[in-house]
C-alpha cells in the first residue's frame, strides 16, 4: 500500500525520454533552426527572426498560405456538414437498407492510400473537364476529411440517450425540432472538434492537393515541397514552425471542446 503507483522506475523514465525524443527531437531542431541567422541550414549563426521577416515578404509563399487556409476552411465546413449528416444517419437510422455498405463506403477514405484517392479524383476532374484549382482541391479535401468528422460526431451521438429526443417529442417537438433543440446543442462540441480536425488535415495534405490543384493555385504544403526540391532554405523552417504552432493551437482547442462535450455542464457554476 505504501508503494506509490505513480512513481516511475529508471527504466520507465529512460524509455519515455527516448520515445519522446524519437517523436519530437526533429521538430525541436526544426523550430530552433528557424531562428538561425545563417543562410546555410546546417550552420548555426546566432539567433534571429530574419527568416520570419523573409516569409512575410515572400509574395508567393503568402499566397500559398492564404490559399491553404481558404481550402481548409471551405473543405472543413462542407465535410462537417456532410459528415454530421452521415453520423446522424448511421446512429439514428438504426437498420436502413444498405447500412453496412454505407458505413463501409464512408470509412473507405480512412484506409485508402492517398495516392490512389488523389489519382482517382484527378481522373474524375479531367473526365468532367473541370478547371483545376481552388474548388477541385476543396472538393478533394472534403472527401478526405468527411469520414473523420463522422467518426468524431458518431461516437458522441451514440453516447447520447435516445430518450432525450423522445422526451422532446413528448413535450411537443416534431422530430426535426427535437433534433435541433435537444440533440444538436449536445453534439455541437463534437461537431466543432470534427471541424477543426478536418481543417488541420486539409492544411497538412500534400498528396491529394498535388493531384487536384492547378497552375497558380498551389497550397502551402505544395509550395514548400517544391521549394525544398531546389534546396532547403531556412525560410522553410520558419514557415514550418508557424504551421506547427497553428496546428498545435487548433488541436488543443479541439480536444478541449470534445472534453467539454463529454462532461457537459459539470463545470458550470450555479448562479
Amino acid at each position: 500500500m505504501a508503494r506509490k503507483v505513480n512513481s516511475l522506475s529508471p527504466f520507465n523514465v529512460t524509455s519515455l525520454a527516448l520515445g519522446l525524443a524519437f517523436l519530437y527531437l526533429p521538430i525541436i531542431i526544426l523550430v530552433i533552426y528557424s531562428f538561425n541567422d545563417s543562410r546555410l541550414v546546417t550552420v548555426w549563426g546566432g539567433w534571429s527572426l530574419r527568416w520570419y521577416r523573409e516569409f512575410f515578404n515572400d509574395r508567393a509563399m503568402l499566397d500559398a498560405a492564404w490559399m491553404s487556409l481558404r481550402v481548409a476552411a471551405v473543405s472543413a465546413t462542407i465535410a462537417t456538414l456532410l459528415g454530421t449528416m452521415a453520423a446522424v444517419a448511421l446512429v439514428r437510422g438504426e437498420r436502413f437498407r444498405g447500412r453496412p455498405l454505407f458505413s463501409g463506403m464512408l470509412y473507405a477514405p480512412l484506409v485508402m492510400p492517398e495516392v490512389i484517392s488523389g489519382l482517382s479524383l484527378l481522373l474524375l476532374f479531367v473526365a468532367l473537364n473541370a478547371e483545376r484549382g481552388f474548388w477541385t482541391v476543396s472538393i478533394a479535401h472534403t472527401t478526405l476529411t468527411m469520414c473523420f468528422v463522422t467518426v468524431v460526431v458518431q461516437s458522441r451521438l451514440a453516447s447520447l440517450d435516445r430518450s432525450l429526443e423522445e422526451a422532446a417529442m413528448d413535450l411537443g417537438c416534431d422530430p426535426v425540432r427535437a433534433f435541433l433543440s435537444v440533440t444538436l446543442p449536445l453534439i455541437v462540441p463534437a461537431i466543432a472538434a470534427g471541424w477543426m480536425l478536418a481543417f488541420t488535415l486539409s492544411l497538412d495534405d500534400v498528396v491529394i492537393a498535388s493531384f487536384t490543384t492547378g497552375p497558380g493555385s498551389a497550397t502551402l504544403p505544395i509550395r514548400i515541397y517544391s521549394e525544398v526540391r531546389l534546396g532547403v532554405k531556412p525560410e522553410i523552417n520558419a514557415i514550418s514552425t508557424m504551421v506547427i504552432a497553428f496546428i498545435a493551437v487548433v488541436i488543443v482547442i479541439a480536444s478541449l471542446a470534445s472534453k467539454l462535450s463529454s462532461s457537459q455542464g459539470e463545470s458550470a457554476a450555479p448562479l
Binding site: 432525450l164 423522445e166 422526451a167 417529442m169 413535450l171 411537443g172 416534431d174 427535437a178 449536445l186
Partner: protein
Amino acid sequence: MTEESPEIYAPQANLPAMPADVPLLRIEGVSKSFGNFRAVDRLSLDIAAGEFFALLGPSGCGKTTLLRMLAGFETADGGRILLGGRDIAPVLPHERPVNMMFQNYALFPHLDVRDNIAFGLKRAGLPRADIDSRVAEMVALVKLEGMEKRKPDQLSGGQKQRVALARSLARRPKILLLDEPLAALDRKLRESTQLELMELQRRLGMTFIVVTHDQEEAMTMANRIGVMNGGRLEQVASPRDLYEAPQSRWVAEFVGDVNLFDGEVASREHSRITVSTSGGAALAVAEPRNVSVGTAVSVAIRPEKVKLSRRGPGSDAVSSQLINRLEGEVTDVSYLGGLTVYKVKLDSGAVVRSSIANTVRLDRDTYSVGQRVVAWFTPDDCVVLQR
C-alpha cells in the same frame, strides 16, 4: 392549480360527443412484434378517467412497449387505441395529449431546471407570463424552490425525479405515463415518493398509468393493477383482489409469496371441496365455483395464513374438522424483523412456508429447527386454481 392559464390540450368539449360510459382510454386487441418476438399480444384494457393504474410484470413482459405505444413512440401492428373514444393511431407523439415520465428521467442536460420544466410550455407557444407562472407552480408542486437555476447534473437522484415529474405534468396531460418512475431511487426515498405521487394524483385528479416490476410499488400506489406476462394481461384487479384472489397460478406466484399444493378434486359438498394432494393429504377448501370431481387443481395458500402450533388447534373453539392440519418438522427459520418465516417439511415431503408476525418483543413462543409442529389453515384462506 390555478385555472387562469390556458390549457395546452383541448378540453373534452373539443372531442366528439362522448357517451358517459366510454372510458378515457380504451385499448382494443393491440399487438406489437419486434421481429419474431411478440412484445404485446392482442391486449385489451379500459382505463377510466382519474384512475391510478399500474402495469405490473417481469422484465420483457411488454409493459414498457405498451406504454410507449400510448405515448406514440411505437406503432401498434394491430388493434386500436382510443383516447376519449377517438383512435389515436394517426396522432404523432408531439400532438398526443399524454405526457411521459421516462425511466432515466431524460432531463435535458444543457438546460437548467426552469428551462427543463418550461420546455413543453414554450413549444406549446404559451405567453411568457403564463409560462413563468406555470413553472413557478410546478416548482412549488414538487418542492424544488431555489433549484431553478441548477443543471440536471447538479441535482440528486430524488431531485432529478421531481424535475422529470414537474416537466411531464406542466402541460397538464390527459394521461400521465410513468415508466418505472422510482426504480432509480433508494428504498427510503422510494417509499416517501410513492406517497407523494399518490397524493399528487389525487389532488390533480389526473389519470396516471405507471409501469413497474415492483409489486409492492404497484400495490401501494395503484387503484387497479394489470399483471402482464408474455405480452398478455394475466389479470386486472384491485391490489387486494390480486393478492387474495389470484386467477392463475402464475399470478399467485408472481404477486407475493405462496404455497401451492397440486392435486385433484376428490369430493364436493355445498361450497366446499376436498382436494387430495399428490403428497397424499386431503385439503378442505372453500370454493364457490362449480368444480367437477376429478379436475386437476392447485391449492394456493399465502404463508401468513399458515399458522403453526405445537399440537394443532384441536381444542380450539373452531371445530377441528374445518381446519387443514399438516404435520411436519421445522427445517429453516428466517428472522426478518417484523416477520419470522418458517419452512416446515411436511411428512408428505412437501415444504410449506409460514410467516408469523413478531407482535411481541420478547417472544418465548418461537419454534426452532428440528422441532415437530402442526401447520394449519382454514378452508376460507385457500384459493383453488385450475391447472
